[in-house]
């Protein structure tokens, strides 16, 4: 048999308080660049990045959300359909860490049940202003059974790793699901279903997992 290559599209979401660096993390990952000017995200934006995992090319569509409190009701409606969610806090901002619990509740209420989660403590380059010890991040991650790492979009620490690990977790899950179901058709249907949930964006979300 010829080798099968599935090309996959994963939809990921970045959430967390305003100013923790969600947009910078995305910008670092997609464009390998960093901008010190803070421009608050007012809306929902996404970028594309293709990565390779276990010989499969995976297209990541990463959605960046507005973190401001006043937009929370609206942004939660974008959770559905996400296959992975990055919860980001700022290690120099205690409040943003304390709110992680709130963001986790938000995910429970609005996201797919089987969504893969990861907690990121961003701005770890600013150790002098640290308000949240790494152990606290480890603890909350352990408590919820979620992966955790500290990152720095500015110094490009753990950014690629975070996305790769999240994508890998999703990939492992999908391949488990595939092997338990009867075949490729099922996998396609399921992924299609999962990716298509943002009805506003069908055209860009339709393509998924082609088996050739």
């Amino acid at each position: 048999m010829a080798k099968k290559t599935y090309d996959l599209l994963f939809k990921l979401l970045l959430i967390g308080d305003s100013g923790v660096g969600k947009t910078c993390i995305l910008f670092r990952f997609s464009d390998d660049a960093f901008n010190t000017t803070f421009i608050s995200t007012i809306g929902i934006d996404f970028k594309i990045k293709t990565i390779e995992l276990k010989g499969k090319k995976i297209k990541l569509q990463i959605w960046d959300t507005a973190g401001q409190e006043r937009f929370h009701t609206i942004t939660t409606s974008y959770y559905r359909g996400a296959m992975g969610i990055m919860l980001v806090y700022d290690i120099t901002n205690l409040k943003s860490f304390e709110n992680i619990a709130k963001w986790l509740r938000n995910i429970d209420e609005h996201a797919n049940e089987d969504v893969e989660k990861m907690i990121l403590g961003n701005k770890c380059d600013m150790d002098d202003n640290r308000q949240v010890q790494k152990e606290r991040g480890d603890a909350i991650a352990l408590e919820h059974g979620i992966k955790f790492m500290e990152t720095s979009a500015k110094n490009n620490i753990n950014i690629d790793r975070a996305f790769h690990e999240l994508a890998e977790a999703i990939l492992n899950k999908t391949s488990r699901e595939t092997s338990s179901s009867s075949g490729v058709g099922n996998m396609n249907a399921e992924l299609q279903d999962r990716v298509n949930l943002n009805t506003n964006n069908k055209s860009s979300m339709n393509r998924i997992s082609q088996c050739c």
């Binding site: 290559t5 997609s30 421009i39 809306g43 594309i48 293709t50 507005a66 506003n200 393509r207």
Partner: protein, 755 residues
């Protein structure tokens, strides 16, 4: 003539592992070749060209994307391809139908110090028997192959790639064992140009393959004989060169499509007999003055004229003519025909990165009437550097992502008067103070700053039934902007009777977040805010009768309590605002022609509104028509109409029976009953002036029926029959004589002051 079936195949492990995923595996068709070894797989079908834009917008299939990646990779080949030196040995011999016997071929084939990497050895006239011609079957094939094998350079182990034979033309290709795994797309093909223009006694046989990234083609030729037939030879060449096609994955590769081409064999070109006859030629040969004779060589001449072998090179000939000898001797042809000597046997090449090291003949072989020739080449082939290819591949992927990201729809939203650079109140439109019935407009600009046309649309938020709140209108709701162009969006805020009540009590606020969606792109949030100035419009009758101060003096919290019916004091029997309006009309409007049927002045209505909300020590402004219109507006804004919604149907049912109508009025809440009676007595009084104002009971009943007996849904379509029934209800109270006494018990005297 037997045919070698069309076979296409690839040896495995050709490309670095990571390279495999570059190509989409598609519909597979393959014919396994019996000699091929290892895994067999073919190359992929490719999509036709994909447009950059559709790709970027995610509209193309993954396959199209793969194709684009592949094209991009090919363009950047020089970034990850190294040149590797190899050696190629070409031999050709017209053996005149002889068997090799015990002859040793190593003096012909093994003349180099280092073993060549590739051998391509061609024979002509391998077998001149009828059987070979008719059945294409000859024991000589195996005999010569074994002899060649035995004569190969002893310094290396060789892999037999292919043997192809058409009648007497045979070619055997060997490569060193070490490089056999780098061969791809090996194919053989043959073409006859002999009798009838296609028989196999003349023509060519070819072998082609790719060694790493370089395509190589070897063609063994036997062209038309006879001195005078040089044009026929040209024709044979063209037929072979243009028509010999190798099938690879259902696509044809011609000789010209190869990077490096070797064409050799018994080309049969002679020395022009008109200028140099046999005797003269033999004399010049004895003096080794080959160059003089070669000037009269037909092949050289035809090449000079551009008639044949264009683009090909032939090395310097520094050896005796290879034709024609008496077999088993070094003597020129002594037969009757006394053929003139000629260089019939030639080796030509074409393509880059080829250096001919030697080109010579081995006259010591006397088996045939021809002598064998050979040539040795240094060739450089393209080899992929996997590390660098990986890097280029990753860069290409990155570039594709960048294009895709660049081609996402992009707009900027420019709201006049706000700092759009960084503040968190970006995308916020503040209308400031908003008053009842006073429309306010603000516009903002959406500019397409991206590279693709943008379809934008304000969309509903999850769980919302509308794009925006009721007090807001967006124009346009969707639009299409070309790159570099802009679109103006107008927002209109208007608090009217439908929304005033909700805003008065804080059940709604002038705050909304609009979602501006770009098709296939992002969503932008736009916040709309304003401060609503509360007004008596929208307040309930129950709240108004409990309000002793102007509305502006009442705190929002107090108003909410009043609207909730907490702490009723009932300062007044009817809302004082209604009293002010009626009182004013009583003074200035009773004789006004067509009162209540003429529109008032919009600005006066707003002045009256402000007066009622503040109740200053000045006379109420406005003319009779404006006062009348304001009165309608006030009644229309009661969240609960004079006849409450709960009694609406009963009211309609009683309309034709005056007793029932009165019964219903008695059951109204006190304040509503008072308002009803107050208004109807005022209307009766108005009718007393009908000689001046021209009003009649029917008109007034219709006008006030509509507003006092309101449908719950503001936007319900007026039903003529229902409207008539409402009018009938009011009419009863305007024309019946026994109106009054039994309905008035609680009405305070201070309000009934028309007279």
């Amino acid at each position: 003539m037997g045919q070698f079936g069309v076979a296409y195949f690839v040896l495995s492990n050709l490309s670095p592992k990571n390279n495999k995923s570059v190509f989409v595996r598609s519909k597979r068709k393959r014919i396994a070749y019996k000699n091929s070894e290892g895994e067999v797989e073919d190359e992929d079908d490719l999509m036709p060209g994909t447009e950059r834009e559709s790709l970027a917008r995610g509209m193309s299939s993954q396959k199209g994307r793969e194709y684009t990646i592949r094209l991009a990779l090919e363009k950047k080949q020089d970034q990850y391809i190294d040149l590797k030196g190899i050696t190629v040995y070409i031999g050709s011999w017209n053996v005149n139908g002889q068997s090799p016997g015990s002859i040793c071929l190593s003096e012909w084939l093994s003349r180099t110090n280092e073993p060549p990497d590739i051998y391509a050895v061609g024979f002509q006239e391998l077998d001149l028997s009828k059987e070979a011609f008719l059945f294409n079957d000859t024991p000589k094939e195996a005999e010569w192959r074994d002899s060649v094998k035995a004569g190969l350079h002893p310094g290396a182990r060789y892999f037999h790639v292919r043997t192809i034979r058409l009648v007497g033309m045979m070619m055997i290709v060997f490569v060193r064992e070490e490089i056999k795994d780098q061969l791809r797309h090996i194919a053989v093909e043959q073409i006859g140009t002999g009798l009838l223009g296609r028989m196999g006694n003349k023509g060519g046989v070819g072998v082609r393959f790719e060694l790493n990234e370089t395509s190589m083609c070897f063609v063994n030729l036997h062209l038309a004989a006879h001195v005078e037939e040089f044009q026929r030879r040209n024709q044979d060449f063209h037929q072979i060169f243009n028509r010999l096609g190798f099938f690879i994955n259902e696509k044809v590769k011609y000789i010209k499509d190869h990077d490096q081409i070797f064409m050799f064999g018994d080309l049969n070109y002679r020395i022009n007999p008109a200028t140099i006859d046999a005797t003269k030629a033999k004399a010049l040969i004895e003096q080794e003055k080959y160059s003089i004779i070669l000037e009269q060589d037909q092949l050289r001449e035809q090449m000079r004229l551009g008639h044949v072998f264009s683009g090909f090179t032939e090395g310097t000939i520094n050896y005796r003519p290879t034709y024609k000898y008496d077999s088993n001797t070094d003597n020129w042809d002594s037969s009757e025909k006394n053929r003139a000597p000629a260089w019939c046997d030639r080796i030509l090449f074409r393509g880059g990165n080829l250096t001919q090291i030697d080109y010579t003949s081995q006259p010591q072989y006397k088996l045939s009437d021809h002598k064998p020739v050979s040539s040795f080449f240094n060739a450089k082939i393209k080899v992929i550097n996997p590390t660098r290819q990986r890097k280029v591949y990753e860069e290409t992927l990155k570039q594709m992502d960048r294009i895709e990201n660049e081609y996402l729809p992009q707009v900027t939203v420019d709201i006049p008067g706000t700092n759009q650079s960084s503040h968190s109140n970006r995308n916020e439109i503040n209308f400031g103070k908003v008053k009842f019935m006073e429309p306010l407009r603000k516009t903002f600009t959406v500019a397409n700053t991206g590279q693709v046309p943008v379809h934008l649309e304000f969309i509903k938020k999850l769980n919302d039934s509308h794009v925006c709140k009721e007090w807001l209108k967006i124009e346009p709701v969707h639009s299409f902007i070309m790159p570099g162009e802009t679109c103006e969006v107008e927002l209109l805020v208007l608090v009217d009777k439908c929304t005033a009540a909700q805003l008065n009590v804080g059940r709604d606020t002038l705050y909304d977040i609009l979602v501006l969606h770009l098709e296939s792109g992002k969503d932008i949030f736009i916040t709309v805010a304003g401060d609503f100035e509360r007004s008596v419009f929208g307040c309930s009758i129950a709240a108004l009768v409990n309000m002793s101060e102007p509305l502006t003096m009442i705190s929002p919290g107090k108003l909410i309590e009043l609207e909730k019916g907490k702490m009723p004091v009932n300062h007044y029997d009817i809302p004082k605002e209604l009293w002010f309006l009626v009182d004013r009309l009583y003074r200035i409007g009773m004789d006004k022609d067509g009162l209540f049927t003429m529109a008032g002045s919009q600005s006066e209505v707003l002045e009256i509104r402000d007066w009622m909300d503040t109740i200053p020590n000045t006379p109420i402004p406005g003319n009779a028509d404006s006062i009348a219109e304001t009165m309608f507006l006030l009644l229309d804004c009661f969240p609960e109409p004079v006849i409450p919604f709960s009694m609406h149907l009963k009211c309609l049912d009683s309309a034709h029976n005056y007793t029932a109508c009165k019964q219903l009025v008695r059951q109204l809440p006190a304040a509503h009953r008072n308002v009803f009676l107050y208004l109807t007595s005022f209307l009766r009084e108005l009718l007393n002036h009908s000689d001046k104002n021209g009003l009649d009971a029917k008109i007034l009943a219709l006008l006030f029926g509509k507003i006092m007996i309101r449908d719950q849904n503001y936007n319900a379509k007026a039903n003529a029959r229902v409207e008539r029934t409402k009018a009938t209800f009011i009419y009863q109270f305007l024309v019946n004589d026994d109106y009054g006494d039994d309905l008035w018990p609680e009405m305070g005297e201070d309000l009934v002051s028309f007279s």
